[in-house]
């Protein structure tokens, strides 16, 4: 078990392409850290630098306080699950798992015990004699995980290990990975572009964009206290609704005026943004924080464009100007297209962003 420290890591490909820039991060022992971001944001490159498969152009990488920046992968005591699993097709499942242990010159008995342990944990102990070609995608993925945990690494790296699985299997494996982490307690770095996966697995999420860190925080933090418009938009399905509003102060009362509504702010919210020097703001409201109420309590009313039943709830889309606003509403009563809905905001869940910088206020 180990801590991982990245200090001012930069990776350049050729002269012009900067894949990762000035990336600093500390991962404490036993943490499950997720690097999350859209494709091309540098998250996989960061992971590969930690593994030693790419060389950092600048900066240092330390594992347990030891500088490993210049060490080849084999001397870093890490293990990795690859996106395409990279299970060796010419070895049986047993040999796949045992190969790393053999390289460590362990004796046969120990290897056998450790392989079986890892295989039991990942539920592939029945498949040890098979070759990868005889396994399904999900089973190959398990072999990749078993291989990675069998070596009891200081650091457990995963590069989008679930992205090649179908939706149902992905959700199930996600749960299992979390359970395995709870048992092994290995410090883990997990790369994904799927925010739902990140939310459900992570102790902390690092949101990346264009090679840099945008926000680091717990799933709760990044969801409810998104650092900027990008995060608020990236996290959550459907994403946060954004509306351009103007802050008005009348008779000592703060209110937001948009083209389609005016909304009086609660005292706490008012206190938050009173001091901001800009009057033009972006209001961010999560779909579940827009509530359907009676006409009298409504801040705004609009016609339902479409509604998408989800079983446990329904997603109602309304049109405000040229923007579609999505609302998560209870499954009943069913709202039909064309029906007028009356809405108000949950004051506690409102987020305000600077219109120019996009930063949260």
């Amino acid at each position: 078990m180990a801590t991982l420290t990245l200090t001012h890591i930069t990776k350049r490909f050729g002269r012009d392409v900067v894949a990762v820039k000035d990336f600093s991060l500390e991962v404490p022992d036993r943490e499950f850290l997720v690097l999350l971001g859209p494709s091309g944001c540098g998250k996989t490159t960061t992971l590969r630098m930690i593994a030693g498969l790419e060389e950092a152009t600048e900066g240092t990488i330390e594992i347990d306080g030891v500088d490993v920046t210049d060490l080849p992968p084999r001397k870093r005591d890490v293990s990795m699950v690859f996106q395409n699993y990279a299970v060796w097709p010419h070895m049986t499942v047993y040999d796949n798992i045992a190969y790393a242990l053999k390289l460590k010159r362990m004796d046969k008995q120990t290897i056998s015990t450790m392989v079986k342990e890892a295989a039991t944990l990942t539920k592939i102990d029945q498949l040890l004699d098979r070759f990868p070609a005889q396994l399904s995608g999900g089973q190959q993925q398990r072999v990749a995980v078993a291989r990675a945990i069998a070596v009891r690494p200081k650091l457990f790296l995963m590069d989008e290990p679930l992205s090649n699985l179908d939706a149902k299997l992905r959700a199930a494996t996600r749960t299992e990975l979390k359970a395995i982490h709870a048992k092994t307690e290995a410090t883990s770095v997990f790369v994904t572009h799927d925010q739902a996966e990140a939310m459900s697995l992570a102790d902390r999420i690092v949101i990346m964009k264009d090679g840099g860190i945008i926000q680091i925080g717990s799933p709760d933090d990044v969801y409810h206290r998104s650092a900027n418009l990008f995060v608020a938009d990236f996290i959550g399905t459907p994403p946060t609704n954004f509306m351009n509003v103007e802050l008005e102060v009348e008779n000592g009362q703060c209110q937001l005026a948009g083209p389609h509504f005016t909304c009086v702010l609660s005292a706490e919210n008012a206190a938050k943004i009173e001091d901001h020097d800009q009057r033009q703001l972006v209001l961010g409201v999560r779909p579940e924080s827009i509530l359907i109420v009676s006409e009298d309590d409504a801040v705004l009313s609009a016609e339902c464009l479409v509604s998408e039943p989800q079983g446990s709830h329904q997603i109602v889309a309304i049109e405000l100007g040229d923007k579609i606003v999505k609302i998560i509403a209870p499954a009943h009563p069913v709202i039909a297209p064309g029906e007028t809905v009356h809405l108000t905001f949950d004051q506690e869940a409102l987020a305000f962003f600077d219109k120019e910088t996009g930063l949260r206020i």
Binding site: A51, P72, F82, W88
Partner: protein, 354 residues
């Protein structure tokens, strides 16, 4: 009542036409091959009969009658459907030799003595003897003038050397081509073209001097150096497409789990590439085995097998069946190797295009 699905006549007709076409094409490709195979089993007499027999005879039917000079030997001709007299002699030795070399039917002198003895009591003696089907091959390899056996050994040496040279040099470059970005990659890719653009004959001429200086002239190593020029380029193509087919992450995984780069290559990539590399080796073999042009120019006293066959064919006016046997002896390993690597020949062209 269930109605049977009506037969789609148009479709059936199309399918039939299609298969007729396939069979036709196959026939066009195989007929010449069939005839040369058949020809290589014919006896000299059969090979010069017209029309040629479709199938080589398995045995020869003889008829012996008293002749003017001694005994008249007649042979049954399958095409004419009658016995034809071929030899009139008293010497059994000569008779036996004729049977062995012209009719490819070994008959011992003792045997002939017995048959001749039967003429004392009978007017006509009939007897049938098994033909030696491999007679042409035995002659081709056995007669010292052809030098076929030493040439065969030399050819095999050349092939082995060519495989070693082109696979080691070309394989390294193929790996680089598949895994790295580097300057001159396009040049490497096009080398398969430009080394062919200059006529092979034209390279062979100055090579005489170059090889002579290296003391390699008229030796297997010299020819294999020449053959490797074209083969290396091809090997780069083949091995590049093989290595491209093996995901790099397999090697990376081994590195992460404790192997050095070299070890990851040896333990992971190489075993996976082995079947493909074997195919590349066979491809190199075919190239070196079949090559005739440079071999003609670059050998004087130590010709390769292909040169021997070439000369047999060129001087074959008197012995088409021998030429056929030589040709077949050359074709056989080529066809066998092609059978093993057919999947790869097909696959390698999918990988890279100019």
């Amino acid at each position: 009542m269930t109605r049977r699905k009506p037969v789609n006549l148009a479709k059936a007709a199309r399918t039939t036409t299609f298969y007729i076409l396939v069979v036709g094409v196959a026939a066009a490709m195989l007929l010449p091959v069939y005839f040369i195979v058949s020809l290589s089993f014919l006896s000299v007499r059969e090979a010069y009969s017209y029309p040629l027999p479709l199938v080589p005879a398995l045995e020869t039917h003889f008829k012996l009658t008293p002749g003017k000079r001694g005994y008249l030997v007649s042979v049954y001709d399958r095409i004419e459907g009658a016995y034809e007299s071929v030899l009139d002699t008293k010497e059994l030795q000569k008779m036996s030799e004729y049977m062995r070399y012209q009719l490819a039917t070994p008959v011992t002198i003792e045997d002939l003595e017995q048959q001749v003895a039967r003429l004392e009591t009978e007017d006509e003696v009939y007897f049938t003897r098994r033909r030696n089907l491999l007679a042409n091959y035995q002659t081709f390899f056995g007669v010292a003038g052809y030098n076929a056996v030493p040439a065969l050994i030399r050819s095999l040496q050349i092939c082995a050397l060519t495989i070693v040279i082109s696979l080691s040099i070309g394989g390294m470059a193929g790996y680089a081509f598949a895994r790295y970005v580097f300057k001159g990659k396009d040049l490497l890719k096009f080398s398969v073209l430009f080394v062919r653009m200059y006529p092979g004959v034209a390279i062979a001429l100055p090579m005489i001097k170059i090889l002579a200086n290296m003391n390699f002239y008229d030796r297997p190593i010299g020819l294999s150096l020449v053959y490797s020029i074209g083969n290396i380029a091809l090997t780069v193509w083949i091995t590049a497409s093989i290595f491209m087919g093996i995901p790099e992450s397999l090697e990376e995984a081994a590195q992460v789990f404790g192997a050095s780069k070299a070890r990851a290559f040896l333990r992971i990539t190489l075993p996976l590439a082995l079947p493909g590399l074997a195919a590349a080796a066979m491809y190199a073999f075919l190239g070196a085995w079949n090559e005739t042009v440079a071999a003609i120019i670059l050998t004087t006293f130590n010709p390769t097998f292909s040169v021997v066959v070439f000369q047999t064919v060129l001087g074959s006016v008197g012995q088409v069946n021998l030429a056929a046997a030589g040709g077949m002896a050359m074709a056989l390993p080529a066809v066998i190797f092609t059978f093993f690597i057919r999947r790869y020949i097909h696959q390698m062209w999918g990988g890279v295009t100019v």
